[in-house]
């Protein structure tokens, strides 16, 4: 039995990203800790309720527990919490935000734009440079994300609707934003999600480790269609991805 299987016993979903494995491991540490406390306290409670029921114990004791066990337990809990913070929480989060592979030439950059009730994914195109956007240029029919046509980086940018395709094994940085209200881009098997806040572009990054096809969930209440704002995440082999990437048509018409 492996250590992390406690999460599987709690119906943890499939995890298919690099940092997801570390997160899953941390969650397993917590679940073992919580389980130990719950079982210990639970058995203690049941024993007390049985042992000190009025029928068995007609006269109560004034002093009750005089040992310092609870103090030791409390100190133990604090030590575990300190270990969790220093050993897991701080470094893992620092890795999420400070170690983002911004300069890695291999990185794939995508923007995810939420709106009621769909996701538009904005790919950088052949030049690997994401073009400028301007919300005042958004036009539902011709320019769904408000690309700035004067920007040379924007010329080859392409979009997909509700279809996020990424390659296995390459780091992906997704800039998450929204046109209207707050949405949440949740890639469940990637162990990651990010609020999509209008007016802000917030990056998240991960490295997929398995190919497959999964649901993308909207994680923040965004209106009547929130429950059905489903999109698809497809993780494919690198070669297949390159072919797909090359075959996409730029969104802006050629001049």
């Amino acid at each position: 039995m492996n250590f992390d299987s406690i999460n599987d016993a709690l119906w943890m979903t499939e995890v298919a990203s690099e940092h997801g494995a570390a997160g899953n491991h941390m969650l397993a540490v917590l679940h073992w800790f919580m389980g130990a406390l719950a079982v210990g306290w639970g058995l203690f409670l049941v024993y007390i309720l049985w042992r000190f029921r009025a029928k068995k114990q007609p006269k109560a004791q004034y002093h009750g527990v005089t040992s310092h066990f609870s103090t030791h337990l409390e100190i133990g809990v604090v030590i575990v919490e300190v270990v969790l913070l220093l050993g897991f929480a701080y470094p893992l989060w620092a890795k999420r935000v400070d170690d983002m592979p911004k300069d890695d030439p291999n990185v794939l950059r995508i923007r995810a734009v939420g709106e009621q009730f769909r996701w538009t994914f904005h790919y950088a195109g052949a030049d690997k440079m994401v073009g400028l956007t301007d919300p005042f240029r958004i036009s539902a029919a011709t320019n769904a994300i408000g690309l700035v046509s004067e920007d040379p980086n924007a010329k080859d940018d392409f979009i997909t609707i509700n279809d996020l395709v990424i390659p296995k094994g390459r780091p992906v940085i997704i800039q998450v934003t929204s046109k209207d209200v707050i949405h949440g881009l949740a890639l469940v098997p990637m162990f990651i999600q990010q609020d999509a806040v209008p007016g802000r572009e917030i990056p998240m990054w991960f490295v997929p480790t398995k190919t497959g096809e999964w649901d993308i969930v909207c994680a923040q209440l965004c209106g009547a269609g929130h429950a059905q704002m489903a999109a698809t995440l497809r993780v494919v082999e690198a070669e297949e991805f390159d072919q797909w990437y090359a075959s996409q048509t730029p969104m802006l018409p050629k001049e």
């Binding site: 709690l10 119906w11 979903t13 997160g23 917590l30 679940h31 800790f33 919580m34 719950a38 306290w41 639970g42 409670l45 007390i48 309720l49 000190f52 029921r53 009025a54 114990q57 006269k59 109560a60 004034y62 002093h63 009750g64 527990v65 409390e74 809990v77 604090v78 919490e81 913070l85 897991f88 929480a89 989060w93 935000v97 009621q116 919300p135 958004i138 539902a140 408000g146 046109k179 209207d180 209200v181 707050i182 949440g184 949740a186 469940v188 098997p189 999600q193 007016g199 802000r200 999964w214 649901d215 969930v217 909207c218 994680a219 209440l221 965004c222 009547a224 929130h226 059905q228 489903a230």
Partner: protein, 641 residues
């Protein structure tokens, strides 16, 4: 101490009063300034609202379990039909409306008024030996602000727009852009939610200053700080939380009202594009500003919900174990630390709004720190049971169940303290399970315990123990039936606020829970009338949770019957102190008259002197002088403790 004599005296006294000096009915029972009447008004109003909140939830749970079937019963009611779609099914819009209002009603119109408004108001002045609250008319104003706020919330359901539907957190820009199509923007659910919240917060503020002033100034002779029952301490800390945490949300509500009505854009950023059209605002606002203001209230609010629960349980456990509260002083300090820390953890609700390492480190640390006083409080209650002679009446059953139920709620909060784990668990059912364990089988069980415990003081009659047991056991089972499966669904990636219970996210919802040929699968398929051998998927857990919710409603029937029948037919108490308790409220006549005490009460010792070695009885009330107790050197015993 002769309890009978006091009782007799009180009855005679009350009869005299009725004929000659009583104020008119409306002044005595409606616009009353008596803290006990106001407490009962708060309690009754809050229970009615909790029933409304529960009803909303039952409709939501139908939609989650059976999204493709019309709602039974309600689909035939003309007034309800207009909310449903043509087939009588719940729409996403209605679900959001009921969801937002379930949260709002349960928290702001149910639990807080019942815990703080009702129990706090009724019990606090009695326990400190005061004739009333420090500002009785402020107290009355507080109730009527609350009542008006409640009426506005309730009325908003019947406006053309329906009630608010942007979640109980009411995040902008959704809250600002919803329902903008209605010509009269003032009378929309979204706007009225804000006005109602402003009233409710005003009510809380009036209550909070009153509690603080009362506890500090009106303590009876001898009632030193460390002789205060823990209940009073918890109310004092709660009072400060309300006083300091609620104004930011009142400000946020007013700013959001202005965003909606007069075209400001405090919370609306530049360049918003709604439904394919540029949104006509000045812009420059920040949606995250609203979240900060909201959660600056929102997190202390959690402790406003839980501290009164600890307060009630800490009164009931010593009384029914017949031994002192274990670690009273440490609990008092823990409650203060808890109150302080609750002001600096709010952004853990905002972990996924783009936090850098330093901010995240700060909030992860404070969030983990706050678990320390919480663990101290719950452990002290648990250890208080050790060495007791436990009397399992209805109040004690609920109070005992509070410990493990709050324990589950607290433990499952631990993973949610860490930014990195929130990447997976954020806004999933794991979170819903966590906070409902804290508030529903946690706080609400404590509130039930309080009702069973103090009912005889107010009515002079006991509630039925049999009906109490019939209320407790099914409630315990079905509460867990609703909330336990949520952790599994959360781990599997189910997100909240989906009216179809996650059906649209097929790949997630169709994960296997149990094979159909397992024992569980067999029982499940039989109970829900499904084909034998059919596999149980994660989404099928919705059926268990929804059925538990409806059965939980049935489990409340014995309580309602008990409450009303016992007022008229309950067994009469034979003493002013039927539970042989030690705190001052049991020194008053039953029910306590206007002004509470017949003679000015004096406090002689700490609050929980049960089973003192050498004493005549197994309890030494705070109000009985040393020479009458029979204890050899009681002053020494008290001091040592």
């Amino acid at each position: 101490m002769s309890a009978e004599a006091t009782l007799h005296d009180a009855t005679g006294h009350a009869h005299d009063g009725h004929d000659h000096h009583d104020p008119p009915f409306w002044k005595k029972y409606i616009f009353s300034t008596d803290h006990k009447v106001i407490g009962i008004q708060y309690g009754f109003t809050a229970l009615v609202f909790m029933a409304v909140g529960f009803f909303l939830m039952m409709v939501m749970r139908w939609s989650i379990a059976y999204p493709d079937r019309p709602v039974p019963f309600l689909a035939d009611l003309p007034w309800f039909q207009s909310w449903l779609d043509a087939d009588g099914k719940v729409t996403g819009e209605l679900y959001n409306m009921f969801g937002a209002m379930h949260g709002t009603i349960m928290i702001f119109l149910g639990v807080v008024p019942l815990a703080f408004g009702a129990f706090g108001n009724y019990v606090t002045p009695l326990q400190i030996g005061a004739p009333d609250m420090a500002f009785p008319r402020l107290n009355m104003a507080s109730y009527w602000c609350f009542f008006l706020g409640g009426v506005l919330m309730f009325v908003s359901f019947f406006l053309p727009s329906g009630a608010a539907k942007a979640g109980w957190t009411n995040y902008s820009p959704l809250a600002t852009t919803t329902d903008l199509g209605y010509a009269n923007q003032f009378w929309t659910g979204q706007t009225q939610w804000l006005f109602a919240m402003a009233l409710l917060i005003t009510s809380s503020l009036l209550g909070a200053v009153n509690f603080i002033a009362t506890i500090i100034n009106l303590r009876a002779k001898g009632m030193t700080w460390m002789r205060l029952p823990f209940f009073v301490w918890a109310m004092l800390v709660t009072g400060f939380l309300l006083l300091l945490a609620f104004p930011p949300l009142e400000v946020a509500a007013i700013m959001q009202i202005m965003d909606r009505l007069v075209g400001t854009s405090f919370f609306v950023p530049t360049g918003l594009n709604v439904a394919g059209q540029p949104f006509d605002v000045a812009g420059g606002g920040s949606p995250l500003l609203y979240q900060h203001l909201f959660w600056f209230l929102g997190h202390p609010e959690v402790y406003v919900l839980i501290l009164p629960a600890f307060a009630i349980v800490a009164e009931i456990i010593p009384c029914n174990t017949r031994r002192p509260l274990w670690g009273y002083k440490v609990m008092v300090y823990a409650a203060m630390v808890l109150g302080f820390l609750s002001f600096i953890v709010w952004a853990h609700h905002m972990y996924l709004t783009g936090m850098g390492t330093s901010v995240s480190t700060f909030f992860q640390t404070t969030t983990v720190l706050i678990s320390v006083p919480s663990v101290i409080l719950i452990t002290s209650l648990l250890i208080s049971l050790w060495g007791g002679s436990i009397r399992f009446n209805s109040a004690m059953l609920f109070a005992t169940a509070f410990i493990p139920m709050f324990g589950i709620g607290g433990l499952t909060g631990l993973p949610l303290a860490f930014n990195n784990l929130v990447l997976h668990l954020h806004d999933t059912y794991y979170v819903i399970g966590h906070f409902h364990y804290v508030v529903a089988p946690g706080t609400i069980f404590a509130l039930f315990a309080g009702i069973y415990h103090w009912f005889p003081k107010h009515t002079g009659r006991m509630m039925s123990e049999k009906l109490g047991q019939l209320h407790f056991w099914p409630s315990l089972i079905f509460m867990n039936g609703i909330f336990l499966p949520m952790f599994f669904q959360g781990m599997a990636g189910f997100h909240r606020r989906a009216f179809d219970g996650g059906a649209a996210y097929q790949q997630i919802s169709s994960q296997l829970f149990m094979p159909g040929d397992s024992v569980f699968g067999g029982i499940f398929n039989f109970l829900f009338g499904r084909a034998a051998g059919q596999d149980i998927l994660m989404i099928d857990l919705n059926l268990i949770m929804s059925a538990s919710a409806w059965l939980l409603a049935l489990a409340q029937i014995p309580f309602v019957i008990n409450l009303f029948i016992s007022v008229f037919n309950g067994k009469k108490v034979t003493s002013d102190n039927p539970w042989d308790a030690t705190t001052l409220e049991w020194a008053t006549p039953t029910p306590p008259p206007h002004g509470n005490f017949l003679t000015e009460p004096v406090t002689y010792r700490t609050a929980y002197e049960y089973s003192v070695p050498g004493a005549d009885e197994d309890f030494l009330p705070q109000f009985v002088p040393d020479k009458e107790t029979g204890a050899p050197e009681p002053a020494k015993v008290a001091a040592k403790h």
